[in-house]
Amino acid sequence: MELSLEAKRRLFTGGLAFLFLILLGRFAYVQLFRGEQFLEEANKNRVRVIEVDPPRGLIRDRFGEVLVENSPAYAVYAMPGEIRNSPQAYEIISAALHTTPAEIKQYIARNKRGNFVPVKIGRQIDFAAFSLLNERRLELTGVDFRTESRRTYDHGVKAPHLFGYLSEISDAELSLFGDNYSPGDLIGKKGVERQYESVMRGVKGHRFVEVDALGRVIRDLTEEDGERFRSNPPEPGKDVLLGLDASLQRMLEAELTGKNGGAVVLNCKNGDVLALVSKPDFDPELFSRTLTPEIWNRLLNDPNKPLYDRMVQSVYPPGSTFKMITAIAGLETGLINPNETVFCPGYYVFGGRTFECHKKGGHGTVNLLGALEQSCNVYFYRMGFRVGLEHWSDYAARFGFGKVTGIDLSEENAGLLPTVAYLDRRYGKDRWSKGMMLNLAIGQGDLLVTPLQMAVFAMTIANEGHSFKPRLRRSVLDPFTGTEEFVEPDTVEVKGIRPETWALVKRGMFLVVNGSRGTAVRSRVEGLVSAGKTGTAQNPHGEPHGWFIGFAPFDDPQVAFCVFIENGGSGSGAAAPVARKILSFLLENKKLTPQLEADEAAD
């Protein structure tokens, strides 16, 4: 069976045509049927989305003065797929970033999201490190720099406890609010930065770039490359305007330098925090650079605990500043007659124990006002015992003791308000003595408060029960539109207290400052009538703590404050002079409308 050449040719041509048609069919399938899909794939190959960080909102004071702003800094990135091949690079980088090659390797391995996705290995590096790395850039394959911003505090206000700080987002936070964050991003960790993270952060933008097979950026893509490659700019974060008065804060920070303690000044009209100083503190700039373990350990192990916000986080016995609670509870329950006198020989014997008054020789005969003015312990021992723990703790609770004030700062301490239930729990039912009430009546014993709670207490008395939740943020400013959104203050009513009671207590506090035997004469300011109460809290660990709380002007209170000096010795000696500074500063700078006639109020 021999085929003709022509037949063979037909067989060959047919076979060839058959094979070519199969090929064409395959090409048609790949290019026409699945073309869109492969185009998608090709774009996935070449297009990388670069996140553009939004500028973070600033922190300003009540007058708009900028307190915390952004300044440019450099971040170091490493491309995992490229840096692997150059071991000497690790030496150079680790030297510049003050770490070890092993740590960098570990960090890259942990944060790697692909061979050609850069990992941020150093943030906010200083200029020296930047120059060092830049000089040896040729040896640093796969290492790149990007600008980023760094928080700066160039306006003389440190307030690190208040502002808080930013730090790299943790894995837990990342899984919690992942959408707007990527590994290596900064997030507010403490203070206002944390509280108003969502306001100040803004929304990330995106930019599309074309990369080659090695992941190197070739060019920026624009709308001309297709609608979907249009970059969207970041939405900047909003500014947070605090109620803070920067000048007052600055003055107080300077005044309290070297002391352990602080001061809180509140606006009586809305609860704004006008100043909040806790000393010792630390330089917030430390946290806006790479925080080395040495610095961190130094701060953490400092016996003076600079990381603690003493005004909000620390608790102390309030001492005599708490006597107003005993007075109010007694007056409201009818157990104290304001005219009833008590003789103070300088001590009080109860249950076989001697309770001392702070004045060795005694105050003699005192009624309620005299006892407040001179801070007579004996009077309050007796009245406190009469009022009893249940009434006392009931009224203290009405003023918010034992609970957080709700200020817009995380990690606020609630303090401790002993109640019958608490003491039963702690010491066993009926296992605690009635004498315990004597100590509580003068603000000692198991009672613990924060200075912020005491400032709120002062504001509540000043406003006769119409109080406010203390707050840092006053408004939010959109830097683009210039619109400022004010936040309504949260009012807090302390109910069930008669006007006569308020008047008596305030009258007593007036005498503390203005009376001839008042303990706070050192807080007195010419031309301004104020009221207050000193406290000297016994402290088993050392010198007593000095307290002073108050408000001014007396007839129309605009500010309330609490000054607290740890181991200051006494309230009148250590705290009252600071209050005087506060008041005279406000008066001199016309931040208070003064009440000139002291006698008017005195009557």
């Binding site: 069976m1 021999e2 085929l3 050449l5 022509e6 063979k8 040719r9 060959f12 041509t13 060839l16 045509a17 094979l19 070519f20 199969i22 090929l23 064409l24 395959r26 090409f27 048609a28 790949v30 290019q31 026409l32 699945r34 073309g35 869109e36 899909q37 492969f38 185009l39 794939e41 090709a42 774009n43 190959n45 070449r46 074309e210 990369v211 080659d212 097979a213 090695l214 190197r216 070739i218």
Partner: protein
């Protein structure tokens, strides 16, 4: 002067020349495109100019081949073949490269003896089969033909160069068939290949066996012949695993990836995947010349050599792919016309060999870029970058044209 007296311009097949010029032009365009990328390495940037020079040299080679009298071609066929086999043996010992022995490296020149071997083998085969004394029913004569092809094939496999070996081996059956070998014998040879391919899977193996039995029954052969052929195929199928184990790992990987049993995204699979992405993303009209992102950004490996067709597919789209394939088809179809009309048996067999070599290259290479052929590393004629490949193919075209102008000679 001798040449002019023998051939005239009007006898030259202009269609074939146009086809070649078109293919080379598209190839140069694609090579230019790959060199215009900012991501291109220094070596690639010069390849366009080099390819132009190689083409000009190749055109001269082709002209010389056209002018060479048949007697010379036929006369030197055996000695050329012998020389090539010697070179193939030598290259195994003296060849350069790490683990592979494909090239003689003489300074800047890399000479790959497998390339001229393809031509030498086809000339030798054509000369052997054009002898009137050959009897294609004789085991001896067929055996010699097999040996002529298999010796260089095995040597090339040793280099190792699976792609060229496949091309080499593919020469045998079409030429033998053209020379008059019984289709049944062709089937006898093809069926074990089918068996080997199908042996990886019980179902495909069963289907292949049924097909073979069907053809045997239809061919009305005697039962013993039928059983013998069947036994042969079953034993080949059974032997396949042990033969499989003798393959090099990278060869196994290629084959496994090809038949979809192994995912190899970093190696061969990556190339094919990126090539398909390139071609597919071209759609019907393509992304436009020099605007292929896959090629320019170097996601496509070996884009100016073995995967040049992916660049065509990406930048010129389906119509460009069709143009190239149709052009190849026209070229081969015209060549087959010459093969039919050539009166000289040597010439007609020579042309069929040329058609086979070009056709196998085109089908395997383009099929590889869309994932329906294994990645064997063979170039696309006239389009792929590379001097030796271009010269080989220009020589083949020269041989076809040579037969065309002499088709009436006996």
């Amino acid at each position: 002067m001798l040449a002019r007296s023998i051939i005239s311009w009007k006898d030259i097949d202009k269609v074939i020349i146009v086809c070649v010029l078109l293919l080379v032009t598209i190839g140069l365009m694609a090579i230019y495109s790959t060199t215009s990328s900012p991501a291109s390495s220094e070596a690639i940037r010069h390849s366009f100019a080099k390819q132009v020079i190689w083409f000009l040299a190749g055109a001269m080679i082709a002209s010389a081949v056209v002018l060479t009298p048949v007697q010379y071609l036929k006369g030197m066929a055996y000695s050329l073949y012998g020389l090539c086999v010697v070179l193939l043996i030598l290259v195994l010992f003296a060849g350069g490269g790490k683990g592979v022995h494909r090239w003689f490296i003489l300074g800047p020149v890399h000479f790959q003896p497998a390339e001229p071997t393809k031509i030498a083998a086809l000339l030798a085969l054509a000369r052997y089969l054009s002898d009137e004394r050959r009897d294609l029913r004789s085991f001896k004569d067929i055996g010699i033909c097999f040996a002529m092809v298999l010796v260089p094939t095995v040597l090339i496999l040793k280099e190792p160069d699976l792609g060229t070996a496949i091309v080499m081996a593919s020469l045998l059956l079409p030429v033998l068939f053209w020379a008059g070998l019984s289709p049944f014998i062709v089937f006898l040879v093809v069926s074990p290949i089918l068996t080997v391919i199908s042996a990886f899977n019980v179902y495909t193996f069963g289907a292949a066996m049924l097909l073979i039995i069907g053809v045997l029954v239809l061919s009305k052969r005697k039962l013993p012949v039928l059983l013998a052929v069947l036994m042969l195929n079953v034993s080949v199928g059974a032997l396949t695993p042990s033969l499989w184990n003798r393959l090099k790992d990278y060869q196994k990987t290629r084959i496994l990836t090809f038949i979809g049993l192994q995912q190899d995204p970093r190696g061969t699979g990556y190339q094919v995947a990126q090539s398909q992405v390139a071609i597919g993303s071209g759609g019907f009209w393509g992304k436009g010349w020099t605007r292929g992102t896959q090629a320019k950004l170097r996601f496509l490996p070996e884009q100016h050599t073995d995967f040049i067709f992916s660049v065509v597919g990406e930048e010129l789209g389906f119509w460009g792919v069709t143009l190239v394939l149709v052009t190849f088809f026209v070229l081969l179809w015209r060549a087959l016309g010459i093969a039919v009309s050539a009166k000289n048996k040597f010439l007609t067999l020579m042309v069929v060999g040329c058609v086979t070599l070009i056709g196998v290259h085109v089908i395997v290479n383009t099929g590889m870029t869309v994932g329906i052929m294994p990645v064997t590393g063979i170039p696309l004629p006239f389009l792929s970058y590379g001097g030796s490949s271009l010269w080989t193919n220009m020589t083949l075209v020269g041989l076809i044209l040579n037969a065309g102008v002499r088709r009436f000679q006996y």
